[in-house]
Structures are given as C-alpha cells and as structure tokens.
Amino acid sequence: MRKLQFHPCGSFKTSYQQDLNIFSTDFGRLWMGISIVLLFGVVPFISSAYILYVVNNIGIYAIAAVGLNLLIGFTGQISLGHGAFFGVGAYAAAILATKGGFPFFLAVPIAGVVSAAVGMVFGLPSARLKHLYLCIATLAGQFIIEYVLVQWEGLTGGAQGIFVPSATLFGINLGNDRAFFYVIFGCFVLMTWIAVNLIRTRIGRAFIAIRDNDRAAEGMGIPVFPYKLLSFAISSFYAGFAGALFAFYTMSITPEPFNLWLSIQYIAMIIIGGLGSIPGSVFGVIFIVTLNEVLSHATEYLMNVGVSTGVAITIAPLREFVYGLAIVLFIIFEPKGLAEVWRIVRSNFRLWPFSY
C-alpha cells in the first residue's frame, strides 16, 4: 500500500500526477471525507427546522458565490448584476415549471443556461470596459433586469410574482427542508468540484492571466474577450442554477429579493471570504448569512424586551451599520479574507509544535 502523507515537512511528491491533486496530503482528503459525512449524515438530523432553513440558504448562496468568485476573484471582471442573474435563474425555473411543465431536474439546469445567456449579453461591455467602468455597465444590467421582472407581467406576473409547484425528483417529494437539503448540497458539492476543476486546467489559468495582465495573456495565445464572455457565462450559470434552486425552495417568488442589495451582498460575501479562493467563497457565505440572522434576531430580541423597545427602534438601522463595519474591518485587517485566516491556522497546525 502507498505510504500515507499526513504532515510532510517538505515536498515528497514523486509524480507530476500528484501535483495535480486537489488535496496535497491524505490529511486534507481525510478531513474532506469526514466533513462530507458530517454534512450529509449528521447536520440534517440534529438541526432544528430553523437551523436547517438557514443551512439550506447558505448552500444556495454558496453555489452562486462560487460562480461569482470565478468571475470577480479569478477573471477580475467586477459584476454588480449578480443578484439580477440569480433572479433570472429563479424566474426562468418558475416559468419553466409552471407554464412549460418542465420537471424539476430539467428546469434547474435550463434556468442556469438561460441565466448564462443573459449574463453573456451583459458581459459584452467587457470587450471595451475595465474595472470601475465595467462595474457601472453591469449595474445597468441589474436595473434593466429588475425592470423587466416587474414590468413584463404577462410572463413574470409582475409584482405579484409566481407560485412554484413543489418539486419532485425521481418520485420523491422535495417539499420538506430535509429532502431539499440533500438536493442543494448534492448540487453544491458537484458545482464546487467543477469550479475547482476549471481552475486547475487551462481554462482557469487563462482566467487568472486575464485578471493579472491582459496584455501578456493575449501574448500567450489567449483570446481575451471570448474568455471574458466564457467567465461571465459560467458565473451566471452558477447564479442562475442557484436562483432556480431558490425558486423551488421558497415556492413563491417576487422581483423584490433580486435587487441591487443582493448583488452587493454577493460581492461582500466573496470579499470577506477571499477573492480568488473557492473555499473562501463558502466561508464568506457562511459568515454573511450567519451575521444577517444573528443581527435580525438581536434587533427582534431588543424590540421585545420592554425596557429597550424605544432604544431598539432607534438603533434598528444598526444592522446595516454592523454589516458595513464587518466589511470595512475585513478589508483593513485581512484583505485576503477568511480564506487567508484559514490558511494561517492550517499552516500553524502544520508546523506545530516546532513553529520555526
């Protein structure tokens, strides 16, 4: 049997194959195995209904955040329209399911494809625009899509929204949170694996090259604009896919949640998690969703305690304030995000107890 690698104090690789592995040590693989078992085997059974709802939301947002990180963190194209692309996916799935009669397992990926097409259209300005200018162009995308979702009543139901029928997969009703948990996290694991694969092949290398120096990327034989569009497409596919899951999970959608605030939240998630890091996107989502829930519970609690009701009403906007503060503090103290914190913790363990 192969000798297992736990805490190597140097590079002991003996084949180029080993350099391509996702986990460089068996220790990493072991932990990944353990966490997957915990995630699928334990979490849905010990969580209360409320916790499970939060966890499911984390899973849905994590899929979209991984996609957004491919676009912003790896390709360096800032998109302020991701909330809208998420909405396009949600609406596409809802319309496919209600008007087209598509089953769940077809509606979700098709919604992803629709969203990818829309994302590519709003990625077209990236041919000419960079950085902040592109950011503003995608902001236009956000407002156009929001407008269409509200105004095209024949298709989207306007402000009333759409009621989505409960999803069934292979004859199993996904109406309850626990069943849907498995669908969300199955998709999450698959999509994350695909993102990691893209990054370690020529596609991801081309994305990173475009982010770091598009002139040199061109000199390496990379057609810059098609790759930017590809990045927009992949990232919007992730957003649309997540949006479709969201639509089936909440069972009723209105244009309201898919506003600019959602786009900003996505960007906050990947900045706090770590730009250019797949695990970072997931950490960021966990952080933001948890923070949101904690803050809303805190304000609610203060409201209900008689003594502090008056105070609570005045400090209710504090939620947004704390939210902004968290982002600012992260940018100042750990600009590389939670992924960097995680890396430091790991390397401390690797060298423990001889940290020199």
Binding site: S11, Y16, Q17, D19, L20, I194, N197, L198, R200, T201, R202, I203, R205, A206, I208, A209, D212, N213, R215, A216, A217, E218, G219, M220, G221, I222, P223, V224, L230, I234
Partner: protein, 276 residues
C-alpha cells in the same frame, strides 16, 4: 553544434516543417497621429537565422516588434509569415501560428509561480475544451502531465530547477528575464522575438543568457529576432544586424559591415566630420 543542456522534446521531436519560420516585412509604415514611428521598413528573417535589430532610443525597434506581434496595426506595407499575410491578425492568433515573444518591461504574472507562468504558455497546445476540463477527465489529466514534462525539460534547459515553485514576484530581475525566455519557449514558437533580453542584467546573468540563446540558435535551429543595446553581445552572436534610426532602417548586413558603416557611426556617435 552539440547540445549541452539536455534535449527538450519540443525541439527534438518536432518535424522541421513545423518549426520553419520565414518572416518578410515589406515597405512597412507605422504612424501615431502625426508621428511616423516606422517608415518604409524592409526586413527579412530566414529560417534558422538570428537577426538583431539595434539603434538609439526611439529608433522604432520595439514598434517594429509590436507590429510583428500584432500589438500595433501599421498603416502601410506587408508582413508575411511563412507566406501568410499577418497584418491585422490579433496577437493571440499570431501566437497560435508561431510567433512568440518576450517583453522589454517583463510582462510575467508576478503572483504566480514560475511553473504556472510557463504552464500558461502551453494554453494553445492544450486540446481539451471547457466540458472536459470541468469534469477533469482522465484525458485532461494525462494532457496536463504531458505538458508538465515538456516544461520540466525546458526548466532543465534554462537551469531553473531551484526556482520552479517560487513566485515570480520574489525573483531577482535577471532571473525574471530568464523565466520570461522560458515562458516564450514554452509557447513552442517558430519565430522567437526577444525585446532587450539582456537589459538590467549582471555580467554573469548576461553570460548565461548568451549561452542559452546561442545554443537555441545553433543546436536547435531556433529562428530569432533580437532587439538589444549591448553591442558586444549583438556583434558576437548575430548573423545579420539591422540598424534603425528615427524610424528608418539605415543599414543591414553582417556585424562587421554594420560596425564600420558611416551612417551607423553617425547615428550613434554624431557627425564626426565636424570635429577637427
């Protein structure tokens, strides 16, 4: 000439017709508004040649390289590569048909390791598409390993074994130039275009670089265009030298011919006839 630094398979196993490079620049004129950067330039590079371009600052050397590699679009004239008209083709297309280059102000990716920088250059030689890449199929894995082997041979050739996993941003300047040469070679170019590869190097680094270039040219028959200011290097390794001044080619020929050409002396040293 005997090869001294291993036998990189991109040279040994390639058929001669896959490495053939014939560049013909005819009557090339490049203008930026009212400024004429290049006027009526003719230059031929034949297969297996090492042609150097020299000239004072602002003579148009880098402008010519940028025109050849597609960064600038000249207004008049032709550039043909292996019989194909290449004016108007984009840089990435030119890279694909075999024109690889290095840059005057190193354009590496500082946040990546030496190895990832070089892997990037294998982009056009990777055959798989997005679908296969996303599933990381066995064929993708095998192809990645194949490219890694090719790169290791180049790393041996350029004696960069010790730095292959280091970030390019942490390397000294001379080493970065060497990495950039390695990355350009990984493109597997028919025509290698080098823009001042010796700038800012110490003497030892220059000596190493000269050895690499001479071996590439003599043992592996690599066609090259070299723009350089270090006259002793240019004169000792080039087969042909073209001299530019103010966007005009003022002389072309063997190093000896060029060194004694009156106009060249005038361009570099000024008009000596008035000093009496």
């Amino acid at each position: 000439m005997k090869a001294f630094r291993g036998e990189p398979s991109i040279f040994t196993s390639a058929r001669p017709e896959d490495r053939r490079a014939e560049l013909e620049v005819k009557n090339l004129t490049l203008k930026f508004g009212g400024i004429t950067a290049l006027s009526k330039i003719d230059l031929n590079v034949r297969d297996g040649e090492l042609v150097s371009i020299i000239g004072p600052n602002g003579a148009g050397k880098t402008s010519l390289l940028n025109s050849i590699t597609g960064y600038y679009k000249p207004q008049e004239g032709q550039i043909s590569f292996n019989g194909q008209d290449v004016i108007g083709l984009s840089t990435h297309h030119l890279t694909r048909i075999g024109i690889g280059r290095t840059y005057q102000n190193i354009e590496l990716f500082p946040g990546m390791t030496v190895l990832s920088n070089m892997l990037l250059a294998r982009h056009v030689h990777c055959g798989y598409h997005v679908g296969k890449a996303s599933l990381f199929l066995k064929s993708v894995r095998e192809e990645e390993v194949r490219h890694r082997k090719i790169l290791e041979e180049l790393i041996d050739f350029l004696e960069m074994q010790a730095i292959r996993k280091q970030l390019v941003g942490s390397l000294p300047y001379g080493m970065r130039k060497r990495v950039e040469l390695g990355r350009a070679l990984a493109l597997q170019p028919r025509l290698l275009v080098l823009d001042e590869p010796f700038a800012g190097m110490t003497l030892e680094e220059k000596e190493d670089m000269v050895r690499f270039l001479v071996e590439l040219n003599e043992a592996w028959n690599q066609t090259m265009i070299l723009v350089e200011h270090d006259m002793s290097i240019v004169m000792s390794i080039s087969k042909r030298v073209a001299v530019f001044d103010f966007g005009v080619k003022i002389a072309e020929g063997s190093p000896d011919f060029v060194q004694n050409h009156p106009q060249v002396i005038k361009a570099y040293l000024g008009d000596t006839s008035k000093i009496e």
